[in-house]
Amino acid sequence: MNLAEGVQIVSFGLLGLAMIGAALGVVLLQNIVYSAFLLGGVFISISGLYLLLNADFVAAAQVLIYVGAVNVLILFAIMLVNKQEDFDPIIGRWVRQGATALVCFGLFSLLGVMVLQTSWSSSTSGAKPAVDTTVLLGEHFFSDFLLPFELASVLLLMALVGAIVIARREYLPEEIVSPQQQPPLTLPERARQPIAISAGTSSSPQSTSE
């Protein structure tokens, strides 16, 4: 990285502020569509931080995969399940939120004290950073990380097939029943009746075999 020290500090501050603000918006805003778009802002800010850390390939992959794939997938999921529903109020919910905020702040202060107290032995801080990170990453992937690389491809295939199998509408619910009037430990889905395929009923494909 050939940027001057001041430029690095300023861009780090701006990117960090944008990232923390957008992440707080993701968690705290009521409208979930705003949260999804702010999540894209978080990902882009993190990609800028990766550029500050001399990781250009990972920054490009971050923009491609997170902003281009994961964020769009989340937006599609919001559109598919988007129903204006008012959640039932829970008594004492602010107690839960306050306790969680307290625990999270405690965790952050613990981590911060740990980070600031530890003397990181950056003995190689004077070393020049690697220039062509893409070539180095490719060499790592195809020499000493070959087995995890192939396993990642198998994992992606399994996730693809599994997501399609889970999300496909296999059964048809008869009517939507609320969870109160439904017997416990059952699902309202019902096996689809096989459709008779013959010459006589081809005109009315809705008729099911009885």
């Binding site: 990232m19 980070v115 190689t124 992606l156």
Partner: protein, 101 residues
């Protein structure tokens, strides 16, 4: 630039992710919080890779693997949310009690 700044930023992002994971009631927002936490881990990995191991960039290799697993997790998680939504007609986390005693 120092290593501590990036680690503090990643710790803050991770804490925000945990807060959203515990308190949010919309199931899609839970997935967003998980993505935030995974990104905090990636930031940690790249910071260590840049400051402690600048020549052989093994941290970036691990970050790429984490990104791969995060993409697979997002796909499967959203498929599960769609399936639950079709059965329960809600995305409220408080009503997903099918496996609860």
């Amino acid at each position: 630039m120092q290593l501590q700044y990036f680690l503090l930023l990643a710790a803050a992002l991770f804490s925000i992710g945990i807060y959203g994971l515990v308190t949010s009631r919309n199931a899609v927002r839970v997935l967003m919080s998980i993505e935030l936490m995974l990104n905090a881990v990636n930031l940690n990995l790249l910071a260590f890779s840049s400051f402690l191991d600048p020549q052989g960039i093994k941290g970036q290799v691990f970050a790429v693997f984490v990104i791969t697993v995060a993409a697979a997790e997002a796909a499967v998680g959203l498929a599960i949310i769609l399936s639950i939504y079709r059965n329960r007609d809600t995305v409220d986390m408080e009503q997903f009690n099918l496996l609860k005693w």
